[in-house]
Structures are given as structure tokens and as C-alpha cells.
């Protein structure tokens, strides 16, 4: 029979099944209109979801690009210090980051495509929903229930085909987005693991620390005097805060012991320690 015909028959079968459920044809109009509005909301939400995923990928791309630039800087510095081994290590990580970046660029393009498709689909559905509403009012105003049947069926079949198509488009977009989110999650984990890492984010990687060790030794004296200056101005407050924190921790650590001891000793046999028992 051919694929085209079979697909259109599936669409028609679904529309007919929905029509058969309705007793009063006018009920069909209102019910279908409600579903159309719901679907419109759903498509718009779908567009927003895809946009969110696209932005997440964009963010990751920026992070990877920064890391890649940073690794290249490190490689250049390492070479300047005559440390080809360090430079090689940095460039290897850069290649890995670049590979992820290429993958993300492809995903980004795909998400952008889905977003555009869903946006156009929502506009098309909106136009059809508006047309349906007009047709619905005309049918209600002009025809008796019996006469209206054929016209209602026509309008219903036309709109339900569009609804089926849009519904499918949302489903496909959701599936694709879910796949990409899983991959985006994997990249987040990869970045968090430090495999592509540099000195950013509180983690000092080995390449950076070696570079730092080499270049920092000359700066140490300057840094020392600067830190001494800082400590001289802020030390008293910090010490007070530290003392309070310690005494609270100590109390907290003692409390469970104070409670556990009395519980293991029968009340009658307990030596006179009323303070502990009441705490």
C-alpha cells in the first residue's frame, strides 16, 4: 500500500476513534478545542525546554573553550621554561577538551534545529486552532446537531491530524533532548573529575602546580611580606571567631556522650550525677 498511505490511515484511525467517543457532535467541538489549547501550551513548553538544553550546552561550550585556552597558555609557559613534558601533557588535555567541544557544537546545532521546528509547529498549530474556533462558532450558530455532524467531522479530522503531527514532533524533540542531556551530564562529570581540568575551580592540577613552583619561587619573598601585612590588620578578629567555633564544636561533641552514658546505667544504680541525666 505504500508508507504514505499507511501513515495517513493511522492518523485517520486515531481521529475516528476520538470522534466515536462523542455522543453529541457539539460536544466534540468544545472538547477538541480544549485539547487544542492544552497542546498549544505543551508545544510552547517544549520550545522552552529545548531552549534550556541549548543554553546548557552553550554554557558547557564556553567552559570547555576557556579550559582549552588555559591549557594552551600553560603549554606555552611550560615550553618557555624548557619543560616540553609539561607542555605535552597540557596539549593532550587540550585535545581532549577540543574533542568534547566539537561534539557539543554538533549537539548545539541539532538543538537549535529542534527549537526552530517546534517554534514553527506552534505557529502552525496556533493558526489552525484559530481557524477551528471560528469554524466551531459558525457550526454551533448555523446548524442543528444533525446537520452539523458532517461539518464537525471535517473540521475535527483536519485539526486532529495537525495535533497528531505536533504531538509527535514534541515527543521526538523530547527524546532527542533527553539523549543530549544525558551526554551533557557526562561532560559535566568529566569536567568535575578533573580530566580536563586546570587551576580553575579550586582544583590545582599537576601541570599548573609544577609551573607555579618554578615561577613562584622568585615571588615568594614579595608574597610573604604582603601576607604578613594582611594578617597584621585582620588577625585579631579572625582569632576570636576561631576560638568561638572551637568551643562550640567541643560542646557538640560531648553532648552525645553525656546522653549515652546514663541510658546504659539503670536509673536506680546510677551514681549521683543529676546534671548529666537531665541534659
Amino acid at each position: 500500500m505504500g508508507v504514505m498511505k499507511r501513515v495517513s490511515l493511522v492518523f485517520k484511525a486515531k481521529a475516528n476513534k476520538a470522534l466515536d467517543k462523542m455522543e453529541d457532535p457539539r460536544e466534540t467541538l468544545d472538547y477538541s478545542y480544549q485539547r487544542q489549547l492544552e497542546l498549544l501550551t505543551k508545544v510552547r513548553r517544549g520550545v522552552a525546554d529545548v531552549a534550556t538544553s541549548r543554553k546548557r550546552v552553550e554554557l558547557q561550550m564556553n567552559q570547555l573553550q576557556q579550559q582549552s585556552n588555559k591549557l594552551e597558555d600553560q603549554a606555552r609557559k611550560a615550553l618557555g621554561m624548557g619543560r616540553e613534558d609539561l607542555a605535552r601533557g597540557a596539549l593532550e588535555r587540550k585535545a581532549s577538551a577540543q574533542g568534547q567541544l566539537n561534539d557539543l557544537q554538533a549537539q548545539y546545532a541539532q538543538l537549535q534545529g529542534e527549537e526552530e521546528k517546534l517554534t514553527v509547529a506552534s505557529q502552525r498549530l496556533q493558526a489552525k486552532v484559530d481557524a477551528f474556533r471560528t469554524r466551531k462558532e459558525t457550526i454551533k450558530a448555523t446548524y442543528t446537531a444533525a446537520e452539523a455532524q458532517t461539518r464537525i467531522n471535517e473540521a475535527f479530522t483536519g485539526i486532529s491530524e495537525e495535533m497528531g503531527d505536533v504531538g509527535m514532533a514534541i515527543q521526538r524533540a523530547e527524546d532527542k533532548t533527553a539523549q543530549m542531556q544525558a551526554r551533557a551530564g557526562a561532560i559535566d562529570e568529566l569536567m568535575a573529575s578533573g580530566a580536563l581540568d586546570d587551576a580553575v575551580g579550586g582544583r590545582r592540577d599537576d601541570i599548573q602546580s609544577e609551573l607555579d613552583m618554578i615561577s613562584a619561587s622568585s615571588d615568594v619573598e614579595n608574597e610573604l611580606s604582603r601576607l604578613k601585612g594582611e594578617i597584621a590588620t585582620s588577625a585579631p578578629k579572625q582569632l576570636e571567631g576561631g576560638a568561638n567555633g572551637n568551643s562550640q564544636e567541643a560542646q557538640g561533641a560531648q553532648a552525645p556522650q553525656g546522653q549515652a552514658q546514663p541510658a546504659s546505667i539503670p536509673a536506680a544504680d546510677r551514681p549521683a550525677e543529676p546534671q548529666d541525666g537531665e541534659r
Binding site: 505504500g2 508508507v3 495517513s8 493511522v10 485517520k12 486515531k14 476513534k17 497528531g164 503531527d165 509527535m168
Partner: protein, 92 residues
């Protein structure tokens, strides 16, 4: 004759183009039957190109049902198989 490209919209096509569309559609179906993804993609794209080239796009606010419906451009063979079952991809 009205043909819908899923995810893209409806086209009005002169009946004279039917024979060519049916020929490409048979190729598409044969590709699905023998599980040939490459032939499937080629036939699908050929079919969509014909519809776009020989048809004129219907305005978005028409409520006419289509005579034929084509899978979306980026559909995989598995997805098309699912579209052919009532429990499949097409929502009820």
C-alpha cells in the same frame, strides 16, 4: 491531492505527480521491508524533495485532512516502523 510532510506542513499537489510519488513510495517501503537504512534515507529524501518541488504549501489555517502523510525528514527507519502501528509514535 493534499500531502503532509510530518513536522513541516501540508502541500497541494497536482494529481499528475501521483505516479512518481507512488514509485518513490514503493522504494521507501521496500527499503523498510529489507531493513536497508541507506536506501530508506535516500528514498525518503527523494520523496520529500518531489513533494516540495511539485507541491505548493497550503496556508497554515486550513483544516483539510491530508490524503497522504510522509515521515519527517530526519526520521529513522525504526521511527517510521513505529509510525505505522496504531500504538506507535503518532499520539491518539
Amino acid at each position: 491531492m493534499i500531502v503532509r510532510i510530518s513536522g513541516e506542513g501540508q502541500f497541494s499537489i497536482d494529481d499528475a505527480a501521483t505516479a512518481e510519488l507512488n514509485r518513490l513510495d514503493s522504494e521507501l517501503e521496500a527499503a523498510v521491508d529489507r531493513n536497508d537504512e541507506a536506501a530508506f534515507t535516500e528514498a525518503l529524501h527523494g520523496l520529500l524533495e518531489q513533494v516540495r518541488a511539485r507541491g505548493s504549501a497550503l496556508p497554515a489555517d486550513t483544516l483539510e485532512p491530508s490524503d497522504l502523510i510522509l515521515p519527517p525528514e530526519d526520521a529513522s527507519m525504526d521511527e517510521v516502523r513505529e509510525m505505522l502501528t496504531e500504538e506507535g509514535l503518532i499520539p491518539g
